[in-house]
Every structure is written in C-alpha cells, then in structure tokens.
C-alpha cells in the first residue's frame, strides 16, 4: 500500500514539473508558420529584441503540407506565409482575418504592382501581405544556345531535342504549353487544356527529363541546354555558372506570389500586425532579400540595390516582362481532375 502512495506521489510530481514547463509567465508570443529557409533567423532575433514578443517559428516544405498541419489544429498558428493558390483557399474557407494594411507604417514600401498581383486572390487587398515573388521562365546555357531566347518556342521547335528539361509538375508544365498557345494559364476551357496536352505530347520525345528541384543543377553542370525553372533557382544557377541566362518568354508566364496572412485563431492581432509591419521595414526586408534572393516586392529595397543586382532579370524583372504574366489561381474540381488525368496520360506515354 505504501509503495502505491510513493508511486502516486512521484507521478503527481512529474506531472506538475512537466506542466510547469508550459505555463511560463504570460509573455506575448506569436506562432508563425513559414516555408523552410524563408526568413533570415537574425530577423526573428531582432524582432524579439525590439518588441519583447516571443516568436515560435515553424517551417514546412509545401503549401499542401502547411494546409494539412494548419487544419489539423494541433498547433494554433497566428501568422502564416504560403503561396497564392493556398492563400486563396484559406481565404475562401474563412480561415483568415482582415488586416488594415493602410494604417501600418511601412506597408507603403510594397509597390502597387504587387498589391495588384495579390488582388487576384484577395480582391480588396484586405487579407494578404506580399512577401516574396517570382516568375517561371527559361534558364539556358548561353554557350549551347545560339540565338538569344525570348520565347517558349525554343522548347517546342525541336532545335534543342534532348537538351530540354521540363517541369515535373502538372500546372507548371501545362502553363508553358497554354501560354505558348496564347491561352490563359487559369483557363477552364477543356478544349484549350486538351490542345495544350497535344502540344506537350508532341514535345515529349525532345524532352530530356521532367524535373523540379534538380533542374537547375542539371543546367549548371552542363547536362542540358535549358530548363524551365523558378526565377529564384535561376539566380542561384547564375551564381555557380556565369554562362547561364534567364528569360521570361514574351508570350507571358506564371507569376507566383507568397503572402502573409493573419489566421482567424490569432488572439493578439496587435502583435501580429507589428510583425507584418516589421517585415516591410526597409532594413528588415533587405536582410531577408539578401538571405533568400527571390524577387522582393519592397520598392525601398529595390531602389537601394546595386545596379548589377537591379539589372538581373531573374531578381528584378522589368514591368514589361511581367505584363503578360498571370498569377495562378485554384481550379475547380472538374478542371483539377482533367489536369491530373491528362498529366498521367502524358507521363505514361
């Protein structure tokens, strides 16, 4: 009997110490969910130091993964940064709180162009704050390609048979074909999507491989003449191999935009707004830019860049280059199914 008492006492003590760990004195804190490697860790330290608000920082790899973790409710996130179409989904599902961006001190640094990009999924710009953006284009090896590349045509005309890398993701691959044909990448017209698939089927014998993350390295290593990549990858590729160039084809392409939202679970909206405003501050945005090297929507940062970086099309595309570009929106279930069926057909061909 005595033994049981000891045991019970021990268990209680253990439980108390364990729960003690979690009920620290109530400091303000924010739980933030972001892509991996998508913020300079020093930025977080700086914010904590300046405001005394503690940051719990969590990372994920894909938008789908973020959505799953978020909606499981295991961790109550205050702020979340993810890609355009996933933000659209979260807004549609009522998971997002409205934020008054105009009342913030530094949000003026974000250029109008980017608010416009965001308005595709957030029409009144009341939910999503642009963070980083980029384009999809062609990364090519200037020693292997004679004429300057400015059109998707090089991928389809057969000149570089077996020297081409196409994206191994449905929407991106179809985007290339749809844009080349002059259609919208958000089209829900079955005939257009089928036409795009025909084009991709014809192109398939010329394609060396379908890759996503490895595409850049293949071009860097000289194993392929060109690849369809994200602009951020293109910048890194150029760092390793000076002969690489990047272009956004004139027919237009996909513009992607990662934005921050405040979730409906956020209790401390004040702190969340402070954090968002902090991210827009010029020095902070510059730190993040130098850590990530994706295109920044922060015009104060763009204006203070070295001319060399400023003229790099993969980092700061000209306004004219993105004129024909579109932000990718979520397709409805029928179109998604069509894409997935056609993609399977293409890959198994």
């Amino acid at each position: 009997m005595k033994k049981w008492c000891y045991l019970a006492a021990a268990v209680c003590c253990a439980a108390l110490t364990l729960s003690g760990c979690n009920n620290k004195e109530e400091t303000e804190s924010l739980t933030i969910f972001n892509y991996g490697e998508y913020m300079d860790p020093d930025v977080i330290d700086m914010f904590e130091e300046e405001t005394g608000i503690e940051i719990k920082y969590e990372e994920a790899t894909t938008p789908e993964e973020m959505y799953t973790k978020y909606s499981s409710g295991a961790i109550s996130y205050d702020l979340l940064c993810t890609s355009d179409y996933m933000i659209q989904r979260l807004i549609n599902e009522g998971e997002v709180q409205k934020v008054d961006f105009s009342s913030m001190q530094h949000t003026g640094n974000i250029g109008d162009k980017y608010w416009e990009f965001a308005s595709v999924f957030d029409p009144d710009n009341e939910y999503a704050l642009p963070y980083f953006w980029g384009t999809v284009g062609i990364l090519y090896d200037t020693t292997k390609v004679d004429a300057p590349v400015d059109s998707w045509d090089v991928l389809f005309n057969g000149d570089y048979a077996n020297n081409i890398i196409m994206p191994n993701s449905q929407r991106d691959a179809f985007m290339v074909a749809l844009k080349y044909l002059g259609y919208s990448l958000n089209t829900s017209d079955e005939a257009q999507i089928r036409e795009a698939q025909q084009l991709l089927l014809q192109q398939k014998p010329d394609v060396q491989s379908y890759l996503v993350d490895e595409a850049r390295d293949e071009v860097v290593a000289g194993n392929a003449a060109m690849a369809v990549v994200y602009s951020g990858e293109a910048y890194l590729g150029h760092e390793y191999n000076n002969n690489l160039a990047y272009t956004i084809p004139k027919e237009g392409s996909n513009v992607w935009l990662d934005t921050w939202i405040v979730t409906k679970h956020c209790q401390n909206v004040d702190a969340a707004e402070k954090f968002l405003d902090f991210l827009c501050r010029e020095d902070v945005a510059a730190m993040n830019f130098e850590y990530i090297y994706y295109s920044t929507p922060n015009e104060a940062v763009i204006n203070s860049l070295d001319p060399e970086l400023r003229n790099n099309e993969s980092l700061v595309p000209a306004d004219s280059a993105t004129d024909n570009c579109e932000v990718c929106t979520q397709t409805d279930a029928a179109v998604t199914q069509l894409y997935s069926d056609l993609w399977k057909e293409l890959k198994s061909e």
Partner: protein, 266 residues
Amino acid sequence: MVKKLFSRLYVGLIILFLYAPIAVLIVLSFNDSKSRVVWGGFTTRWYSEVFSNSTILSAFATTIALALLSALIASVIGTLAALGIDRMRRKQYQVVMFFTNIPLLNADIVTGIALMLWFVRFLPLGFTSLLLAHVTFNIPYVILCVLPKLRQMDVNLYEAARDLGANSRTAFFKITFPFILPGVLSGFFLAVTMSMDDFVITYFTKGAGVNTLSTMIYGEIRKGIKPEMYALSTILFLIILLLLILMNIVPRLKNREQTASAVRDF
C-alpha cells in the same frame, strides 16, 4: 580461384553501394561551393559554420536531449514492465505481449497522427509532447531486449538470495539487475537510435519552434540542403564509426590483457 575472385568482387560491390553515398556526402562537406555539381575548392568553413549556427546547434541539442531522456525513461518503464510480464501466466503473457508489439509494428504515421490528436486535447505541443511520444515508441524496444534476459535467468538465484536474508530490493539490485543489465543497456541504446532516427512521429508531435535534426533538415529541402548539413552528417558518421571501432577493440584488448595476466600468473 575464380570463385574466390567473384566472391571478393561481390562483397566489394556491396560495400561500394553501401558506402559510396556516404563518401559523396563527406566529399561535398569539404566543397567550397553551395552547389552539388560544382567543385569550388577545398574548405573547412562548413565545419566552422556548423558550430556558429544557433539553429543547427539548438536542433542538435534537442535531438540529443530527447534521445537520451526518452531512452532513459523508456528503459526504466520498460524494465519494470518486463519484470512484470515475465511473471505472468501464459495466457496473460500472450495478451500483454500482443499489445506491446503493436506500437512496434504499427506504421509510424498512424502512431504519429494518433499521438498528435491525443496530445492536442491535454497539453500544448512542445518538447514535453515530443518526449512523451518518444518514450511511447521506445518502451517496446526495451521490453523486447530485457525479456529474453529474464527468461534466461535462473529463478533459483534470486530465491537463494532471499533465502540468505536479502530483502527483495537488495536481491533485485544484487542479483537480477546485474544479470539483465546487458539487455537493459542494449534496450537503452536501441531506444537512443530509434529516437534519433525518427522523423514521422516527431514531425506530428513537435510544437512550433522545437526542431530535431531530422525535422530541421526536412524544412530545408525546399531551398536545397545547405552544406553545413553535410558537415554535420559527416561529424555524426565519424562519431558512430569511432564508437563502433571502440566497441570492437576494447573487449579484444581486455581479452588480451586477461590472457597476458593469466600467462604471467601461470
């Protein structure tokens, strides 16, 4: 002769395929370029960066603390459980072992999600929930390591000790525990390994801001794994290699010493 040649070749190939990836990793950890495909010259800067990167160090500390703590707790609980199970009657024994083996054979993802759903009701996810999860999946390993040792033990030894006046605690620590110690230790080390290895359960039960090495590396995949990770993995590999060499050499040295002293005594 030809047969011998082939068998050597076969073993050689197996070793090549097992270790070539690790060799690539080690080579890349000295590469002065962030790209996998460009050799930028020899450098040791990734090694110095590992030790100045607070994110990596804190993930490393969490991993080690979690592995040791969870293994220790699991060893205690597992050993006690094994003592109890060993005394059970056949039917009861089978039922309990059946339930003990479930976490062992269950898919990690099921265990992970189940634990997450369970924890969410009671405590905020954090290091505590992570520790509880790791203890949970470590216990069966300890039980499985300790039980055979108990089965091998002669009950008469323990009873003789009691006969000679030892109380149950003394008898346990003087007789039973030393006998099952190798089982407890191998259970402990197995638990450490399992805990360090685990990704799926950790991923689902960790709280925001808590990272182990495996979840941290996973987070980096999107933008490419940084060379610091190659350096860290190389260090981990070398530590394990060193431990293995020590574990093989020390008993042999001891043996030699014993034979030497035996010869001298003779």
